[in-house]
Amino acid sequence: MKALLQSFWQSLWGALRPASAYSWQTALWMSLLAWLLAQLARSPEQVQSPISVHGILTSLSWMFLILAVGWLTLERPLKLLGINFGPWLTGALVCLFLFVRRDYSFPRTALVTWPLISAAIAAVPEFIDIESGFSIPRGLRVRQNIVLMLLVNLLLTSWITFSFRLNDWLLRYPGLRGEAFSQSFFLMPRDRDEEDFSRGITIVREMERQLGSNVSGQTQSQVERWLLDNQTDPLIFRDLVMNTLAAQRAETATGRPLPRPKDDRFWQLETLVSEPAYQVELRARWIGPRANEAGHLVKHTCKVDFGSNLRATVSCPNDMIVITDPKNDPIPVRRAPALDSLETSPTL
């Protein structure tokens, strides 16, 4: 056991011992040293600004780490399928250092710029000349490879940016998530869960609340009047519901308020009334871009009763139901989504 530990330690030290003053090991030890010093200089009361001693030492530690990794991968390329992935490792560290911090973080910027920064790092050694310091590479192959690498990485950046754009669309038009993507040439099909129908569920829940607050305690003729108004002017009712929801969102949003969804006009709100004595079916149907002719539909059946005092009471005993496709079985909604369920969506 002792021999094993000893040999392990020896090989570790053999790998990490600086072979000369100018080596990646030196940079690694400098990074470690800077980090240790940064821990010593940390003061909990002080605001963690990048200009504090702690901040400067942390940045130094990062820079030495980047230098060490870059140097190491230059000396021993991380070859996989004939491609050296070392620059992408260094690039990832650079992006983390530049854009991902505890107090202000831009993971989106980090991801989008990762391929470009990596390409730049991969190209740097070709531009360095031992004698003159800087030189434009002369070899034909070298130039071709640099251009090719730049283009491939631009394509990667485009794909990453496009992914973010897709998710922005889904965030701005949350109703889209309730639709199936199985026909898409762009996305993999996925199973939808309640979270994906949350926009429609939230709308129906608000319709329900409006019904409760406008109808409870009213006489039969007042109730009939309200229901008739909703049927003749569904757009007014929709505006009321959507504006209330937007106001609630603004109130409940913690921290940075999210922009209001833009898919209001793609929801068709229906109030169906049937006997006996007022079964009120509240429906929100998605009529925006969709997979099938009939978009998905969230509905809830409520009952308006008139007790002995002839005043209305509203009750909605059954599950809310989601219908994704006339062919498919309706999906009952089991749990109440949090009001801010949309806040959990990707907001990089």
């Binding site: 283009l151 940016t161 998710n167 889209l176 639709e179 993507f181 762009f186 996305l187 969709r290």
Partner: protein, 181 residues
Amino acid sequence: MSFPDLMLPLRAIAFQALFLVVAVAIEATVLEREFGTSRPGSVLYALLINLASTVAGWIAFLALEPLLPDNWRMAAMSFVFFNQVFGNLDVSVVLPVLAFVTFLSTLFLELLTLGLCMKLWSPAGLSPQLSPAEVRYGRAQRYRSSGVARHRRNALLKANGYSYGAILLMLLVLQRASFLN
């Protein structure tokens, strides 16, 4: 920072990679025959020009998308998410026009890229080298180089025609195929 369900356009990436391989294979063959370049050289040039035009297309789309009128964006979203048409855009007009514009701009971009490559390095063998005797006569050189430009343009037109045809065919088959659903 959270990645709850970040949607990745994996199918789009796979299809684009596939179409790039097909286009490069076809165009490299045409370039090899037209210019007499070596096989690796033709593949490299085909790859360079196709990558450049693809990247330019992405940059144009990503930059213009926020400026699109709402119904155009809806049409784009409907196409991306559902492979469907949406709204009142007349597909029978928009699609051919879009395809034609894409084809022309691809051709233009590839010519541009090829020209830039020529500037960045002397492309051993891609254009007929001029002998010193020809260089001395300015007019002959100009005549010769305009001929080179025309030849280059026609070759790229041919190469793009074939590769676009092949990709269009693949798209039609995919559109008809039911394995995606």
